[in-house]
């Protein structure tokens, strides 16, 4: 019985992130539009886009290989698996032990690896520029993220995300210098990894500054739909990660009764709304930076992560 319940909750969690991901993207777009005093598309527009794209024919470039057609599924699968391992409304997920925080980051790294290959597959200059910039950004964002993970793992004594989240929700954490640094570092990495302003602009096309959009320029139809869905999933993954690590209130511990799960889900949706609003507010109030300022930005994140880890190595009280 317990096992079946756990299976159901793991399944519910997987479906929840999948279903909420486009909604969250739509919500952020809507808030951004309202902040700019525009009407904006309806909040469910991303779903409509996905449906429209999946119905269309795929137009493959002449020089595209079989790899180009496989990659959207690979990217989607890796991102979805990673996203379904981040606790949203309840910790102690059935399969949370199958991949810890380091493995989740590496799964996202796999998705990025293949997406960057897709950018090079057709052999166009736009795809190449997107891929080469994406790997440059990743080469700094990934170590920064690993350092943040080190800090959290040293505080909680585990790299297991469910255990870390439970520890963060317990009263023994308190305010710590290293936690603050890890928070700043993680937010900076999340902005960079999701290609948000000021690193990249998810709303532009036809500009030399774009990174992610240039990489997937040749995709169309259902392939493009999967890639859009994957980037929505990645965004919701990072917001869930921030929520379960730094705003753990309302998350249900393993073994909670069913009625309290409703509270957990409610709290999760509330956190998503707050996170989306803050993201939109941040994006509207800042200008995009030049691409070679990005290493400085991420270098700061890396330094925060490294400093926080060093503090934890030096003493357990920071």
């Amino acid at each position: 019985m317990v096992l079946i319940g756990d299976f159901l909750i793991q399944g519910a969690q997987m479906l929840l992130v999948l279903l909420l991901a486009p909604l969250f993207t739509g919500f952020v777009r809507k808030v951004k539009a309202r902040l700019l005093l525009r009407q904006g598309p309806p909040i469910i527009q991303p779903y409509l886009d996905l449906v429209r794209l999946t119905r269309k024919d795929v137009v493959l470039a002449d020089s595209a290989s079989w790899l180009f057609r496989v990659i959207p599924y690979l990217v989607f699968a890796a991102t979805w698996v990673a996203a379904s391992l981040v606790p949203t409304f309840r910790t102690g997920l059935l399969f949370s032990w199958s991949a810890d925080l380091i493995a989740i980051i590496a799964l996202l790294g796999s998705a990025r690896f293949f997406l960057a290959l897709a950018g090079l597959d057709v052999g166009t200059s736009f795809g190449g520029i997107g891929s080469s910039r994406e790997v440059m950004i990743a080469s700094l964002a990934e170590p920064a993220m690993i350092m943040v993970v080190f800090t959290l793992a040293l505080i909680a004594g585990s790299t297991q995300l469910s255990t870390v989240a439970e520890f963060m929700a317990s009263p023994q954490v308190g305010l710590r210098v290293s936690l603050g640094m890890a928070l700043i570092g993680l937010v900076m990495v999340a902005i960079a990894e999701n290609g948000r302003v000021p690193i990249d602009n998810p709303a532009t096309h036809l500009e030399l500054t774009m990174v992610h959009e240039a990489m997937v320029l040749e995709y169309s139809g259902r392939h493009l739909a999967l890639i859009e869905l994957s980037s929505s999933l990645k965004l919701i993954l990072y917001v869930s990660l921030l929520a379960c690590l730094f705003v753990p209130w309302g998350i249900e511990a393993a073994g909670a009764a069913l009625p309290t799960l409703a509270i957990g889900i409610g709290a999760y949706i509330g956190k998503l709304a707050a996170g989306g609003f803050l993201l939109a507010l941040f994006e509207t109030s800042i200008a995009k930076m030049r691409v070679f300022r990005v290493p400085e930005f991420l270098g700061v994140a890396l330094m925060f992560g490294l400093l926080a880890t060093l503090l934890r190595f030096v003493s357990g009280s920071f």
């Binding site: 699968a77 990025r112 597959d121 790997v135 259902r222 490294l306 880890t309």
Partner: protein
Amino acid sequence: MLTTALACAAALLALAAFAAMFARQPWATQVVYAACLVIAAISLVAGATHLLASTASENLVLPLGVPWLGAHFRLDALSAFFLLVVELGAAAASLFALGYGRHEEAPQRVLPFYSAFLAGMTLVVLADDAFTFLLSWEFMSLTSWALVVSHYRVADNVRAGYVYLVMASFGTLALLLAFGLLAGPEGHYAFAQMRATHPSATLGALALCLALIGAGSKAGIVPLHVWLPLAHPAAPSHVSALMSGVMTKAAVYGFMRIVLDLAGTPAWWWSVVVLALGGMTAVMGVLYALMQHDLKRLLAYHTVENIGIIFIGLGLSLAFEAYGMHSAAALALTAALLHVFNHSLFKSLLFFGAGAVLTATGERDMEHLGGLIHRMPQTAFVFLVGCAAISALPPLNGFVSEWMTFQAILLSPQLPSWGLKLLVPAVGALLALSAALAAACFVKAYGVTFLGRPRTRRAEAAVETDRCSLAAMAVLALLCLLAGILPGLFIDALAPVSSALLGARMPEQMGAQWLAIVPIAASRSSYDGLLVFAFIVISGTLAALAIHRLASDRWRRAPAWDCGYPDANPAAQYTAMSFAQPIRRVFGSVVFLARETGEMPPPGDTRPARLRVELVDPAWDWLYAPLAEAVSATADRLNRLQFLTIRQYLSLVFCALVALLLVLAIWS
């Protein structure tokens, strides 16, 4: 098992003599490589049996070599593991060469040395006294040198061979001194005697430094790596795979044998040296690799990075061992050993792939390749598996060993020493940086070589490689996947090694639920490659089925979109140089003082614009160039000693004798 392995080595030596006689015959290539494959497979079974059955170590003394010493051989857990790595690589390379070797123009320069080289590597891991070890080591170096210069008409190869020879003899000199120190004044050259006499702390430390120089130069530790990216690509590709994937591991074996087995209890600062060198090697190796556009040289530089990761694991293990934290030391050591195994798999696979590309197109320069995925789909697939594995992507094997190294780093706040408390997080950051850069490096290597459109006629005319080569690569790719999804199997097999060296082992892994690996405790960390693999396959397949069934599965071909400005010229694609430009600008401007100068012809001039990139190689320009100058200046000074009179020579000899006697008198 030991006698089997030694008989195999002897058979390889006999085969070398046979090959030297008949190499010019048209059937010789196939016969020699097939024989090598069979012998290596037998030896592989011997090593694996010993390791898995975890039997007691076997000893054998043969009446060869120095009269009063004999040749000692021993097969214990450590040498059985490395024997397995060596023979697996050797078997795969021989299988690959059954196809690849047919294109060799001068087989008489390759065949005899190839089987002798295999014998040399086998004997290195079996030797149990300093004399036999050094003899096998030199034999291994010399035969591989002969293979490096087998295409001696290429000027670069000759230079590579020269640099290799100089560095190899320098390294052996360091090892000779290390063994001399450990043997003590009585001359205990057998390893068993060295193990019994515990050397003093100073002697142990000196032996560590000499082992780092001697074995480290063979393994490719920065800044002793300079010969490696020259020599490894110069050899025929199956030999490159052996040198990069296997011979560097024999060097790691030498280091482990001296430092963990013979040099006594480690002091804490030993690990500081090893960790700092390992971290620097990892990052520098991958940055060098990113700057290359020669596929084989890129792979060779990338070996340097992986050696860095292995040494980080060994350094952590030394640190834990120095403070008596045996289970943590076992974790770090197992991570390093697993990476040794993993790297030998994917690096051999990638070099085979580069060899297949070389046969198909005659090109090693990535700027002249591209689009090979259409012409060589099977090679492209297995090469992709190798790229993903070496970039530490789950669920493949490279990720498992790096993940375990990270877990070992997370245990190190318990180390009491302040130096280590500050160094280990920095090394962790370097490891994370090198992992991320490795992914960038292999996106570049794969994307430029196999994806895109062909950049030259030769790339356009490529054909798929032969069956034997494909079989060798497929076996290695399968092993990469297997070691990634069932890591517990391999970790458990390594337990005898860490038990023998450290007296502790990692917990039994195969009993964990769903074949997960749990290095310390389930609440602390666990990873399940099998489940992750299954999840990815299931969700990808589900997505594909759902979309194809419910929405649309139609597709058609059209010209590339490229924002409306597609350029039909394949030269308009991104190249290896342009792909690395952002990283060159961010990291290269600091490490290599990279400078880009653009040359724009004035309006009306039809010359093409040019972009020139200048890089400074810090190892060559700041270390070896001044060193070479100093050596030649000293040689010039000492040149006068060649033209002395007999009286002056006699007085020199007399003075030397007096000085030595004085030293002896003061010493005792």
